[in-house]
Amino acid sequence: MHMADALVSPAVGGAFWAAAAGTIAYCSARVRKDLDDRKVPLMGVLGAFVFAAQMINFTIPATGSSGHLGGGLLLAILLGPSAAYLTIASVLMIQALFFADGGLLALGCNIFNLGVFPAFIAYPLIYKKLVGRDPRQSRMVAASIIAAVVALQFGSLGVVLQTVLSGVSVLPFATFLLLMQPIHLGIGVVEGVVTALVVSFIYQARPEILESALQQKPLGDLPIKSLLANFLVATLLIGAVLSWFVSENPDGLEWSIAKITGTPELPESAYKEHQQLANLQEETALLPDYALPAEEGVTPSATAERMGTSLSGLLGGGITLVVCSLIGVFLKRRSAAQREEA
C-alpha cells in the first residue's frame, strides 16, 4: 500500500525524501563501482518487467480475490541489494509521476517502505541466509515467504508511522496498526509464494542467472550491518524529531517561519497593514486553528459568528473556483487562437 501526498506532512515527506535520496546516491555509487556495464540496462528492463508482470493477475486460493506480483523481493534476488533498491525506487517514481500513485512528496516514504526493507533486510538477512547456496524448491519457498512477510510487515509499519506522524489522517496509531498489519501478512505470504514460483522457474530454465546473483560478493567495503545501523539511527532520529514536531506545531510553514524569525508565532510584522492582514486571517479562516476547542457549550453567538465566517469561506471558495476556471478557459481560448494564426 502506498503512502499518498494527501496524507503526508511536509516534514515527514521531506525527511524520508532525504533518506531515500541518500540511499540512492549510495547505491548508485556501488553499482558504478561494480564495473558490470551490463547491469544498468538489465536493471531498467527488469523494472519495466515489474510493470508488465503487474498486469497479470492470479486468483488467491480460497478467497476468490486476485493479486499480482509486487516484485521487490524478486528484484533483490535477481540483482542483489543495491541494484534492486535503485530499480524499486525507479518503479515507484514512474508510478508516482504517471499514475500519481502515491505522489511526489510521498515518494520518499514509499521508496523507503518498499525499497529498503526488501533490498537490505529481507533479502540479505533472511532469504540469502535461509537458501544459502542450495536453492531447492522447498527451501526457496519457505525463505521467500518469510522474507516477503518480514519486508511487508516493516513496509506497512512504515506507512502507519508516517501517516500517524503526519497527522492528516486522525486514525489512532493502534487501530491503524491493527488494520494494516494483518492485511499485509496475507499479502506477504502471497508475494512470497509467487516470488518462489517465479524464481524456481528461472532456476530450471536458466540456472546461471541465479547463480551469478548468488555469487555476488557480499556488500563489500561498507558492511551491511553498519548500513542497517545507520538506517536504524536515522529512522529513530527522524521519528523523535517528528513526534516532537507534530505535537508542538502541526503547521510546517508556521514552524519554519518561526524557526527563521526566532519567534514562536507568525512574525509580528512591523508594518501595520501586514499585522492587520494577519489578524484578519486568524479571525476569518473557515476553521481558524487546528487546536480549536469544540467543547459542548458553544455559545449561540459563537455559533452564529462561526456561521458567518464559514459562509464567507464557502462563498469565497466558490468564487475562487469559478475565477480559476474562467482564467483557464480564457487562456485556452487564447492559445488556441494563437495556434490558429500560426
Binding site: A6, T59, L69, F98, V168, A205, A294, G313, G317
Partner: protein, 271 residues
Amino acid sequence: MLAIDGSFLDFKQLDLLALRQTPVHRLDPRAKVLTTFCFIVCVVSFDRYQISAMLPFMIYPAVLMAVGDLPFGYILRKIMIVIPFALLIGLFNPVFDRQVLMQIGSLDIWGGWISCLSILIRAILTASAAIILVAITGFPSICEALEKLKMPQTFAVQLLFLYRYIFVLTDEGVRTARARQLRTFGKRGLGIRHFGSLVGHLLLRTWERAERIHMAMLARGFAGEVHSSRRPSHFGRTEVLFMAGWITLFILLRIFNAPQLLGGLFTGTMP
C-alpha cells in the same frame, strides 16, 4: 483485461501530450520540476481542517492545462484513479473525529468530515500537479532535469531504460495475458502455479531482451558511460520569471486565505 489495455494506453497518451509545442512545454524542465515541488509542499502544509484556503491553488493546474493545451477530461480521468486510496484512509476521519466544528442549520458537521474533504482536495491538487508535470515536460526531460539537480547518473540512466521498455514489455505482458485468457473460457483468474510459470516465461524473455540490448549498446561503442547528447539547455529569464512568479503566488496564497477575504467582501464579515 480491457481495462488494463486502457490504462496502459493512457500511459502512452500522457507521453504523447509531452510532444506538444507550447510555451510551457518549451520551458527548461528544471523550472517545472522545482515549481511543482513547491506547489505540493505548500498544499500539503495546510493543517488538516483547512479547506477554503486550498482552493485558490487550483489556479496552477488550471493555467498550466490551458496554456499547455492539455485535454481537461483526460487529466481529470487520470486524477480520479488516484483518489480512492486517499479517500479510503480519509474516510476513517469522521469515525474518529467527531468534534462538532460547524453547524449548518441543525446539521452538525464533525471535524472528521472537514478533514476528510480536506484530504480529498489535497489529493486532487497534488495528483493533478504530478500528472501535469509529466504532460508538459515528458519523462525523459524530467530525468534530465533531476540529473542536473544532482541525481546520480547510474540511477538516471537505468530510469530511462525502465521507461523505454515499459512500452515494449507491457505490450508483451498484454499479449501473453490475452493468449492465456482466450483459452480459459470465462474461468476467472489464474491458478497460482500457472502464474509462476507464465511470469517466469515473461521474465526469461525480459532477461534475454536485456542481453540483446546490452549487445546492441556494445556494438555502438558503449563502455560503461552514457553520454548526454542533449544540447545544453539554458535556465534563462523566462524560467526565472516562471518560477519566481508561481512560488511567490504559492507563498502568498499559503499565508493569506484568499477565499475568506473575498467572501468577507460579500458577506460583510470583514473586520
